[in-house]
Amino acid sequence: MANVISDETIEYVGILAKLELSGEEKEQAKADMGRMLDYIDKLGELDTSQAEPMSHVFGVRNVFRDDVVTNGDMCEDMLKNAPGEKNGMFIAPRTFE
């Protein structure tokens, strides 16, 4: 394995992903991520200097909508998607500023 993930990196990625990993899980994730990076590194073997980066599969351009309100009050339906509801609002885990 050419790519070695450091303890700091796995710690940082854990924070970004809001995951708490056990020591064992961290080792497993380090190995998995190293293998993923190795796989991606294959791309580096190709000469891509002449290739345009691709962001969209279809050649569609300029898809617009007119500025007209056509949605009504769908509050009740939208709240059915909420993990919990109070006073017409979605309940989310406690968050701090």
Partner: protein
Amino acid sequence: MKKQYETVIGLEVHVELATKTKIFCACSTAFGGAPNTHTCPVCTGMPGTLPVLNKQVLEYAVAVGLAMNCEITRYCKFDRKNYFYPDNPQNYQISQLYLPICRNGYVEIETEEGKKKVGIHEIHMEEDAGKLIHDEWEGCSLVDYNRSGVPLIEIVSEPDMRDAKEVIAYLEKLRMMIQYLGASDCKLQEGSMRADVNLSVREVGTEAFGTRTEMKNLNSFRAISRAIEGERERQIELLEAGNAVIQETRRWDDAKGESYAMRSKEDAQDYRYFPDPDLPPIEVDESWLEEMKAKQPEFREGKMKRYKEEYDIPEYDIEIITASKCMADLFEETVKLCGQPKKVSNWLMVETLRLLKERGMEPEDIRFSPSNLAKLIRLADEKVINSSVAKEVFEAMFDNDMDPEKYVEEKGLKTVCDEGALKKAVEEVIAANPKSVEDYRNGKEKAIGFLVGQTMKAMKGKADPGKVNEMLRGML
């Protein structure tokens, strides 16, 4: 000798656009709806939904860019900015990183040393987040997604400003241009314009920038000025003590007059931007750009020039009236109705400004209509009411935008034209004030003023003072 420091400031300004619908769905952007009544699967980030760009958002962004002398990006895309926070239901914000719609512009501001250009690095389009309410009772957060997906543009300046005055001048200039375009009302207090301040200090004469901090939560020009002063002092103190400034985001607490660092382990960010595959790229072709350019409104500079040519009013009045798009519109429309630029300008410059100041209002908050102001001017012109009654009527109109003709009728404020009644009042005043009458006859001009005042009082203010004066002189 003590070291001299220079402050280097750049701004990131978010402006909420005045569209009817959100940026990627047909939900209303209206304020004041009950929580989540302006939401749909798109703006609550449900899987499988497809965002479609509101064309008006693009048009406003291009119009602002053109006004700020920017290059318009002919091939432009949206990117996803990934982060986890409950106000952002998709777990990414749709924004623009790689190909923002406008780049490399500038605006000109007035400083004590004359005109100065502040560079615009870029302007990009993005969506606003929902609103979080912290529920202390249940120990959870509640989310209202009515603001989620409301269109914003972010205007990023170059670090070209050197003190709070320049920053305020820059913000006022942006606000005025955007209001002229009708792209936003730009109210800091209400959050339709938000400014984040990037600030660093360096020793005078050095080329390299110091380490900068970013200040958030600035809700007024006053808070911005104080935060700039405070942050400059804080950074200089750190450097003088031999410490380093840490690059961080700080939150301004205006009540305490100080800031504190927001960054913590939990806030660690890595946005992993990538192009949004759901939104096809935008291509701005030459003919469309020309069309957009042709649609640009007349800005302040153009208006000032035209007013000078078209209306016989003082330059100072022109400056004040054109400083606000609302005021300029009100002026032009009223003049169109009554054809008296000087009188319209007087009502705006004196009574309107006085009442705005007294009520703590901005010109954008003016409620009375051009047609009512035109009616009032006509009433005063035709001497249906005298000037002090006109002021009284104006104040009522300023507060409630009622029809001055009806108001004058209902309240019985018309000047009394009945010669007999006036003559009777004058006779009574002459009889009751022999001392003043004698003074006047002995050449004391001042005495006539007192007698006019007494007559006006007897007429309950509803007489024409000029006529009273004339009649008094005749009878003495």
